[in-house]
Every structure is written in C-alpha cells, then in structure tokens.
Amino acid sequence: MTAHGSILELQVSPHLHTKVNVSSIMLHVVYSIVPVCLFGVYQFGWSALALIVTTTLSCLLTERVVCWAAGKPSTLGDCSALITGLLLALTLPPGLPLWMGAVGGVVSIALGKALFGGIGFNLFNPALVGRAFLQAAFPVAITTWTPAGAPQRFTSFVPSTFAWPFSRPASVDAWIAAAGVDGFTGATPLSLQKFSHIGTDIGDLFLGTTAGSIGETSALLILVCGIFLIWQGLMDWRIPTAVLGTAFITSLAFYVLNPGIYPSPAFMMFSGGLMLGAIFMATDMVGSPVTPLGVWIYGAVIGLVTVVIRLKGGLPDGVMYAILLGNALTPLIDQWTQPRIFGQRKKQHV
C-alpha cells in the first residue's frame, strides 16, 4: 500500500557503517576512567567510593529529570552523564561530604550542560563547572584533605563524609591523627610547596601515594589510561601534548630563573590536577577546538595559565580555571584558525 517496498532505495553518504557512535565512544572513555577511580578508592578508602557513587548517581538523576522537564527523550544511554559524574568525583577531595558531591553533580549537569542544550552544546566541561561551583560555594570543605593509604580507610569512613545535608562537616583531625601518617598536615604537595616551601618526592607524586583529589594523585596511571584512549583514537593526542609541553617549558623557565623559589618542572608535571586535567578534562570533545592549529593554541593556553596560577596566583592549583578559560576561548580560536577553503583567496586587510 505504501511506498516502503520500492525497488530503488536512495541513500545519502556516508555509505559505510561502523559501530562507532556516541555511546560506544563514551563507553570506551568510561573504561579508561574506571582504573583511575579504582586506584582512588584503593588509596582513599570507602569514603572515596561513596563519593564517586554519589556524584555519578546525582549526575544521572539530574540528566533524567532535565530530559523529563524539557520533554525530550532520555539521554541516559549515551553515558555522557556517567562520565561527568565520574570525572567530577575524581577532582574532589576524598572526604568531601556526600551532599556537597550531590550538589556538584546537579550543578554539573543542569548548569554545565542542560542549560546550553545538552550533549554537544555545552561550552564548558560540565564536570569542571560543578567543581568550580563547589570550590566557590564550600571553600573550606573542598580544601580539606585526608592522607592517602590511611590504615583505617577500609574499616571506617572519613567523618566528614556523612554530614547532614546543609550542615557543617565534622572535623577530620581525629581521623587523620588516627591514621598516624607521619608528617601529614592536611595539605597537598602543591599547597605544601606554595605556602611552606616543602617539596615532595617526585617518585611518590608519579606513583600517586600523596594526598590530593581522588583521581589526581597518580600521574603514571592517568598517563597509561590516556595512552589507551589515544590508541583507541578517542582522544586528540595534541591536546595533552600541548598542555603538558607548555606547562613543562613555562615551569622550566621559572625554575631556571630562580630554583630557590620555584619548583622543578617534574614536580609541576606530576603534582596536582595537571595530568588529570590535561588528559581527561581538556580533551572534552565539545569544549575543545576542531582545527589542528586551534588545538595547539588551546592546549598551550591551558598549560601556561595553569603554571602562572600555580606560581603567581593565590590558589595552589589552577588547572580547573585554566581549562574553563580554554573552553571559553574555544569558539574564538576556532574562528581564527579556520583553514582557507581550497580556491579561496587570502583575506585582504582593508
């Protein structure tokens, strides 16, 4: 009756079909994040696991609610909210109260993604939007660190984890004292360096046995996961290369000028969230430029701003703001670096 069974079927290109689609890409990214999460749980214990689960659930739930409110079909299946939730947790201190993690998840998805139009339209990396909100809203809780490898991490939660919603988290001093980690003062290697000029062993930084956010400590593991993503062709290798390269060169310049004040480039590379940011955050496909030259510029801006904030700014770490700034510059960079269309004349300056 209808024309469904017509003889000739016309199709537009592309004619080749592979299984690559949004959810399969996202699923591979999830595979690459999971080892980092597992290492974070191993280092920081049940509290870290609880926080990862909370932010993830919060992101998924917000995504569902937002889709329902907008009258759109659910986009839970594309796994992007899952990635946002996991990445958000990786940037948070392990003992952060779960309710704050949940707030961060809601902000990430609702403010960072849904308001811009959902997946593919977000200007900024959603997880970092959530992180930035939490940093501004709860400056004390988000800089309360617990030591890595505390002996009681699998027998008890950090006391601040289960704070009542809207209430002040309990003090973690007793818990840290019970951990009996020598010389731990509740500071990350970066803030130790910045405010007390105490260095940290580069080997510890590389392997990740230091205090810090759940997923930022092990440079080695993040690098391995990054190489997996590059091998799978799911990540533009230029971005981490540009970010880390610029950070290395900038910090080397500072270090050569005054080694007494400024930390070594190796310290710069392996401490704080630089590795995590360069590999998992800056490479967000939506928030980064599309042209090869643009990608180099974008990465260089992030690397430079990170080092400048760390060495000259008031904050110990500036990766988050550097990447958000890079995201904000992306449309401009893309416009500047548009390649000339074949046959088009060079633009004449009037």
Partner: protein
Amino acid sequence: MSEQAQSNPLVRRPVAENAAAETRKMILTLSSVAALSGMLIVGVYQYTLPYIEANREAMIEKAVFTVVPGGVQKRAYGFSDGAVIPDPASAGFGERFYAVYGEDRSFLGTALEASAQGYQDTIRILYGYSPEKACVVGMTVLESKETPGLGDKIDLDPVFKANFKALDAAFDSASGKLVHEVTVTGHGKKINPWEIDAISGATISSKAVGAMINRSLQTNLPRLLPHVDALKENTP
C-alpha cells in the same frame, strides 16, 4: 523645530528670533533647576552633617574601645617629624593613632591603624598596643573585601581574634627593632606568644594581617614609645 516650521508655513516666524528665545528658555530652565538642586543639597547637607559626624565618631569610638579593652575615653594624635601632636587636623591613614584612657583616666594604651594587600583588596585594620604590657591587646578590621566564609574570618573568627589578645610585641630600643618579629604560623602551630595562628584555608588573609601589624609596629613603636609619658599626662 525646523520641521514644524516647514510643515506649517503660516506660523513661520523669523528664525533668529525664534532660536534666541529657545536658547533663553533652555538656559533659564537648566539654571533654575541647577539652582534649585543646589539649594536642596546644601540644605540637606547642613541638616544631616551633625548626624553623620556623630555616626562616624561612634564608629571610630567603637573600634578604638574594642581594640583597647577597658577604654572609655580617647584622644586622637598624629605623628609629625618625630613628635606626636594631639587632635591632628588632617593625618593620612596610618599616620594617626588614638591614646585610650580607662574609667579612672589612667592611660591604657594606643590604637593604631595598619593596612596591607589581602587576598582580594587592601585590608585596613585597627589594633591596640599597650606599652605597659609590651603587647598587642586587640584587633578589629576596619575595611576588607576578603572572601565571605574564608578570608572574612579575620574579623569574625573568635579563635583567630584570640591571637591578638596578648600578642608579644616587646621592643628593643637599643637596636630599634622588635625583639621577636610578629610571624604567622600554619593553623594550629602557634607556640610562641609572638606568633599568629593562621586561619585554616585563609592563609593569605591571615598572613596579610600578621605582616601589616609587624610592619606597623616596626615603623610606629620607635616614634611612639618616647612619648608614652606625655600621653599618660595628657588625659582628655
């Protein structure tokens, strides 16, 4: 104007006369409005001035008597070429201080101003110094734009403020320096009486307060201490 004139040729008047009249009207209106507003402002200024001055005085008084506990009377002084002059007409910030006296007119100490760059903007404080105890005896923030919930604790956190109840500021007149510089230590690490325990998470703001007090003491004690006896005599 010209449009009207063109659209209605019957009421066309000589252009020059018309324009002159217009200009006169404009000037007249603007100047009468300006005169009116000038009178209004002067009237209000005259009427509110005593209230505003009373408010300012109350504000300073409150701050001064907070930083020098027990104070009920005060007198303003200014530093001037190695001397201190009472009731200075105009003294810049940091060039002025208050001598504070208690119930029985006894000299209790001085309240001095200090400022330094904080995390957001310049922080201005007033702190009390007792020559008798050789201690800083109190501190209050006059002006700060530090981060709410973090840096603004320099004025709100009772634990931090307790640092300034008896902060050792012994002065060695031989060398012209403090015996121990006022320093800021990490949170919970204060051991000596000349150390300030920083606020956890607001190290920069805490250090700014410590640094400005240290600098202010180093500059002002040499030019203040020789006149302490005069201050004791000159009760208000």
